[in-house]
């Protein structure tokens, strides 16, 4: 992993001067005031790494390693083709998506009743328990890697999507509980009572009346679970070996005797951004509320 990390800061550093010059030249004819300039620079720095990743993914390895070009001279989809045809590559995506989806579904379905309890009932130690839940989120995943590894090896869960999905629940359930509790507390308790008076049984009320009211909260919580599970690498890599190997692990293991396959790695990187970008699109209007744990 260390060699991969080493190259990452090097890449944007090389390029930024050249890229900036190109942009300034493009802007020069129009009237530029300070505000647009700052904005343009900001966007430039923000988008540059992503642009460069896409750029690289469409170049041949020769072009990447021999010349410095702002766009692919010799455009190729060979890297993408390889990812979509080679089972060891697309299998990584399938593995990752499998445990991410399992984890998101598990976390949300466990967090919904828990958040409802925290939001609606007072019980002994509720506030402490609620805070303790969040404090789980504060421990680094590395702390849990060893116990999970040993435990899962013992009970035969090692190297299955369930291993990673369950391990990620440790972080995602508390987060989802906190987010959902915030959204639920925004719904007046009287609605619950009115539903009971109308004759709704609790499960029916919860699914038919209550869940639509906190739909945006469920969306945001699911998004956060999805993103955490999607980007988390340490536990995912420790708890899998071959059968459930996640894409991020696959990417870090591509260094071969022949050297680094730059283009392939870049293409894999582009494809890794896509699911997150898709999910974020659906919850874009609620993200801020989600970051405030539903308490805005």
């Amino acid at each position: 992993m260390s060699d991969v990390v080493a190259i990452r800061p090097a890449l944007p550093g090389n390029v930024s001067d050249a890229g900036q010059g190109a942009f300034n030249r493009a802007l020069a004819p129009s009237r530029v005031n300070g505000r647009t300039l700052v904005m343009a620079l900001y966007l430039l720095f923000l988008m540059l790494p992503i642009y460069w990743l896409i750029n690289m993914s469409l170049k041949t390895n020769t072009e990447i390693s021999t010349t410095m070009t702002l766009w692919p001279r010799d455009i190729t989809f060979e890297h993408y083709r390889k990812i979509f045809t080679d089972a060891s590559w697309y299998g990584g995506y399938i593995n990752s998506l499998t445990y991410v989806v399992i984890n998101t579904v598990l976390s949300i379905s466990l967090a919904l009743p828990a958040a409802y309890a925290f939001s609606r009932y007072r019980f002994l130690g509720d506030k402490h328990l609620f805070f303790w839940l969040l404090s789980n989120r504060m421990a680094p995943p590395a702390v849990f890697a060893l116990p999970f590894f040993n435990l899962y090896s013992a009970i035969g869960l090692f190297d299955t999507p369930w291993a990673v999905a369950l391990a990620h629940c440790l972080f995602n359930v508390p987060l989802a509980v906190w987010i959902l509790e915030g959204f639920m507390s925004g719904v007046p308790r009287e609605i619950d009572e009115t539903a009971a008076i109308d004759g709704y049984s609790f499960p029916r009320f919860f699914i038919r009346i209550f869940m639509p009211l906190i739909a945006s909260g469920i969306g945001v919580a699911a998004f956060f679970c999805f993103m955490f599970s999607w980007v988390e690498l340490l536990l995912a890599r420790t708890l899998t070996s071959v059968n459930a190997k996640p894409i991020a692990a696959t990417m870090t293991r591509t260094v071969s005797a022949a050297g680094m396959d730059w283009g392939l790695l870049a293409a894999a990187g582009v494809l890794t951004i896509v699911p997150g970008a898709l999910v974020i699109w659906f919850v874009r209007n609620y993200i801020a509320k989600g970051f405030a744990l539903g308490r805005v």
């Binding site: 007046p188 009287e190 609605i191 009572e193 009115t194 539903a195 009971a196 008076i197 109308d198 004759g199 709704y200 049984s201 029916r204 009346i209 639509p212 009211l213």
Partner: protein
């Protein structure tokens, strides 16, 4: 159907919400729960509905003890002060919701919802979402939902408190009429004595979790059993002073003496708390037996056709409600007059011992 609360109490932790309440409400009756904020009106309603279980006592419906029953098994409808509807459902579905849960035939649901919507003037809004309606319309939706259910017990918890006064008057007139046909027990909580008088029916005065008096509304107003009930059922606040009767004379705590006439004639010698309502205090000199109270004007408020004059007299503050626009300069010395027939005498324990008002409504 009859709803009986039998020595019902509700405690949460060390706090007493409802303290030993016994009430019997009859089918087809309109009952007002009157009390200030935090007097326990909502807590009592929640016990009646079954949303909360009492910590002591029994709730009996038609002779059946339903104390521990969940609210789903009871035939109740409730309207809250806040406008509570299901935001994700249309107005039509909101009103239909209790009927859908009860699995009524579609035609019946349609007919009942249309009926209620017509009665509450919601017909043009049936396809809208509740949050796109005005406050009055939202509350009408909640009332319509309570209506279609044809519940045996209808609880209205300050349903008009959050509405502007025009809507409030309009709905207040409609409400008893709308529910009258159903023959349900109708319970209406309010903080306003005037609202209780306008609604009529029976009134229970609540103070600190206790029902201090329960009876026919005008009778409770005219014959409060004790000082607390009189205070609860008085707006502007009940004026009080203390008086000591000895023989044929009465010495007032505000200074001065009067002949022991009116209510004073019937009671033995001793010290009494005198309670009287704002509109019985006036500034025109009355006949010989009138009590006269020297005072200074602190504020005068003019509402249009009436004026509230706030008076200071020694330690006491009084409010006089006089017809017409009367101008009193703050600080002016005045003498207020009170007819001894229009007062309540309470003994040291606060029980009513004499009043000269007609007994029946």
């Amino acid at each position: 159907m009859t709803l009986v609360l039998d020595r019902v109490g509700k405690k949460v932790g060390a706090q007493t919400y409802i303290d030993d309440v016994s009430l019997s409400l009859e089918r087809g009756s309109l009952n007002v729960l009157l009390g200030a904020t935090l007097a326990g009106k909502t807590s009592l309603m929640r016990l009646m509905a079954g949303l909360d279980a009492p910590t002591s006592g029994r709730v009996v419906i038609d002779g059946k003890d339903v104390t521990g029953w969940p609210v789903q098994r009871r035939s109740v409808a409730m309207v809250y002060q806040q406008f509570i509807n299901y935001p994700s459902l249309s107005v039509y579905e909101n009103i239909a919701s209790p009927l859908r849960v009860a699995r009524l035939p579609a035609a019946e649901i349609e007919a009942r919802v249309k009926d209620a919507a017509r009665l509450l003037k919601l017909e043009p809004y049936l396809d809208r979402k509740p949050l796109n309606l005005s406050g009055g319309q939202q509350q009408r939706t909640a009332i319509a939902r309570a209506l279609v259910k044809r519940a045996d017990l209808v609880l209205l918890d300050e349903p008009l408190a959050n509405l502007d006064y025009k809507l409030r008057e309009e709905l207040r007139e409609e409400l008893p009429r709308v529910f009258a046909a159903s023959g349900a027990i109708f319970v209406y909580a309010t903080t306003e004595p005037q609202e209780a008088l306008l609604l009529g029916g029976n009134t229970a005065t609540l103070f600190e979790g206790r029902v201090t008096q329960f009876g026919v509304t005008p009778q409770v107003y005219r014959q409060p059993k004790d000082l607390t009930s009189a205070r609860v059922f008085s707006d502007p606040p009940l004026n009080t002073l203390t008086a000591r009767k000895s023989g044929a004379t009465v010495a007032l705590s505000t200074g001065g003496e009067a002949r022991a006439a009116g209510a004073f004639a019937a009671v033995p010698d001793g010290e009494y708390t005198v309670g009287f309502r704002a509109h019985h205090l006036g500034f025109e000199p009355l006949g010989g037996d009138a009590l006269s109270i020297p005072a200074t004007v602190s504020v005068s408020e003019i509402t249009g056709s009436e004026s509230f004059i706030h008076l200071d007299s020694g330690e006491r503050r009084f409010v006089a409600l006089v017809p017409g626009v009367k101008r009193f300069e703050p600080g002016a010395s005045v003498t207020a007059y009170l007819d001894p027939r229009h007062l309540f005498l309470f003994d040291e324990a606060g029980r009513l011992v004499a009043s000269d008002l007609p007994k029946a409504a």
